[in-house]
């Protein structure tokens, strides 16, 4: 069987692929509660209070309590909802979020027990396009959730979220194109390796800013979180969801934050590379990536605590009239500079 998805020119045995999938899913599953508690504690500190500190030492067991509560709730479904789609929507969000996690590289190819193994799920020849493909499908999770709930708040909320998603998707993609042009390749591991001399946040500074702003919109985080604006929409598309389905949606949302952080790390901050050319043993690489990812997560939480929410028309006009032209210009100038230098 031909190695249809590996660009690195070798085929991994099937048991390695299954093992990696399990490990990646486990890592994702365990990182989300960490992000949950970190967010609540940090938000508390930013707002001059302690945050949760009852459950466990310094409140570290709070996610356990949260998830336990959510899972043990009775799963209900409004009678006006459409059953099949109502149940499918959070599943779509979860599946696409976890699937997108597979391309974040945690390290280079290492030799484990005789077989070359890449410290990533897959390294596809199409790189970031894989991410956008799953992001595009993730839209349906939100859309169907709102529509299938059969309530007006949900529908409105999901429509707004959907419009926001597709508006900022283009700017996000264009900001990445600058990096791709500079690196000359689409494969994420090769992009990291191309950042040996200088991490890309320096030449692609504009791209980084555009990507971060667009990612805030793509993950429905403040200041772009009007899809879940309590004051306006009660709960947006997840108004009618309770219990474990609600947990799925929020799982998917935090996972999206992690993925975006991972991609920003990979594309702009050198992935597993350390500054000043320090060359650590290979087992340090995943730790470096995780540290950088959590730096970005901290940034996400920091912004949430600081900035107010944008209004819908402000958001849309910003996305189309300001962010997209800037992203396009960035791509154009990068292309010109790269051609001129070569």
């Amino acid at each position: 069987m031909s190695p249809i998805l590996a660009v690195v020119g070798y085929a991994e045995p099937w048991w390695i692929a299954i093992l990696k999938s399990v490990i990646i899913f486990a890592v994702a599953l365990s990182m989300v509660p960490v992000v949950l508690i970190v967010e609540r504690k940090l938000l508390g500190r930013f707002q001059g209070r302690y945050g949760p500190n009852r459950v466990g030492p310094m409140g570290m067991m709070q996610p356990l309590a949260d998830i336990g509560k959510l899972i043990t709730k009775a799963p209900f479904r409004p009678t006006t909802s459409i059953g099949f789609l109502f149940i499918l929507a959070p599943a779509i969000s979860m599946i696409t979020a976890v699937a997108a996690f597979a391309i974040i590289p945690f390290g280079n190819v290492v030799d484990i027990a005789g077989t070359p193994v890449g410290l990533y799920g897959i390294d596809v020849g199409i790189g970031p396009l894989y991410l956008f493909a799953f992001g595009a499908v993730a839209f349906y999770g939100i859309m169907l959730g709102g529509w299938a709930s059969g309530s007006k708040y949900s529908f409105l909320g999901s429509m707004r979220a959907a419009a926001q998603l597709i508006s900022y998707e283009v700017a996000q993609g264009l900001s990445i194109v600058g990096v791709i042009i500079t690196a000359g390749t689409l494969s994420l591991t090769e992009i990291v390796e191309a950042q040996e001399g200088m991490w890309y946040f320096i030449p692609q500074f504009v791209g980084l800013i555009v990507f971060m702003v667009a990612s805030f919109a793509e993950t429905n985080r403040t200041p772009f979180d009007l899809a879940e604006a309590d004051a306006e929409l009660v709960g947006g598309y997840n108004t009618e969801y309770g219990g474990s389905r609600f947990a799925s949606y929020f799982f998917a949302e935090y996972l999206n934050v992690l993925i975006v952080s991972g991609i920003a790390t990979t594309l702009f901050f050198g992935g597993w590379l350390l500054p000043f050319g320090i060359d650590p043993p290979t087992w340090v690489d995943p730790i470096v990536v995780l540290v950088k990812m959590f730096a970005f997560v901290f940034f996400f939480i920091w912004v949430r605590a600081t900035l107010p929410r944008l209004r819908y028309d402000q958001l849309m006009s910003f996305g189309w009239k300001i962010l997209l032209p800037i992203a396009t210009l960035n791509t154009l100038i990068t292309a010109i500079v790269v051609v001129a230098i070569d």
Binding site: M1, S2, I4, L5, V7, L85, V124, G125, I126, L129, Y130, F132, A133, G135, A136, V137, F139, Y140, M143, L144, W147, S151, K152, F155, L156, M159, A162, A163, I166, E169, L186, R311, D313, Q314, S317, K321, I322
Partner: protein, 218 residues
Amino acid sequence: MVEILFFIAAIGAIAGAVGVVVLENPFYSVLSLVAHLLSLALLFLLLEAQFVAAVQVVVYAGAVMVLYVFVVSYVGGQNLPIRAVNSPSLRIAAPLFAFCLFVELMIATLGTGLSAISSEGPKLAANYGEPEQIGELLLTKFLLPFEVASFLLLIAAVGAVMLARRRRGLDEPEVPAPLGLLRPAGTGTMAESAGGGFFRKSTASASDDSTSTGRDLG
């Protein structure tokens, strides 16, 4: 493994396509079209065309179908049955023609497919289907269609704006509201979002457009 995936994708594609035509609720039609497109993407992957598969999902299932879903969820909703054909002769002739076309297409595709069933398929280069190869083709052999297609996208956008533009926007403001100079445009003031602001359009409009009225949601 490849065979299992192929049959899953093929059945998904056919079921999706049949669902588009047969389902009465337009929203379900659109969703089954999305399912069909995702199955097609899987078929592209099996044919080692990774870029086309990714682009199919990102552009077709992820952007075009999103717009369909938007429109159908706002405007659709009634289960309108497929209208019965008026003339009785057409009721017989139409399925007959469709069946003849189907037989012809089956002969064409199955004939060539069956003649290649024992082979391994063509020999492909190692980077077949990768974006590099497609990009090279688009910049050398298919440069003109590529550039003309980008012009076509611009024209389609112009046409769409032309059709959907608010009628009031065509009259020139004779006297701009002076205080509006103080409010920068595009910052989203309340006045602007309500349609006023510096470029306030003249309120009187001779149009009698009965086309667009707001539909109630839900």
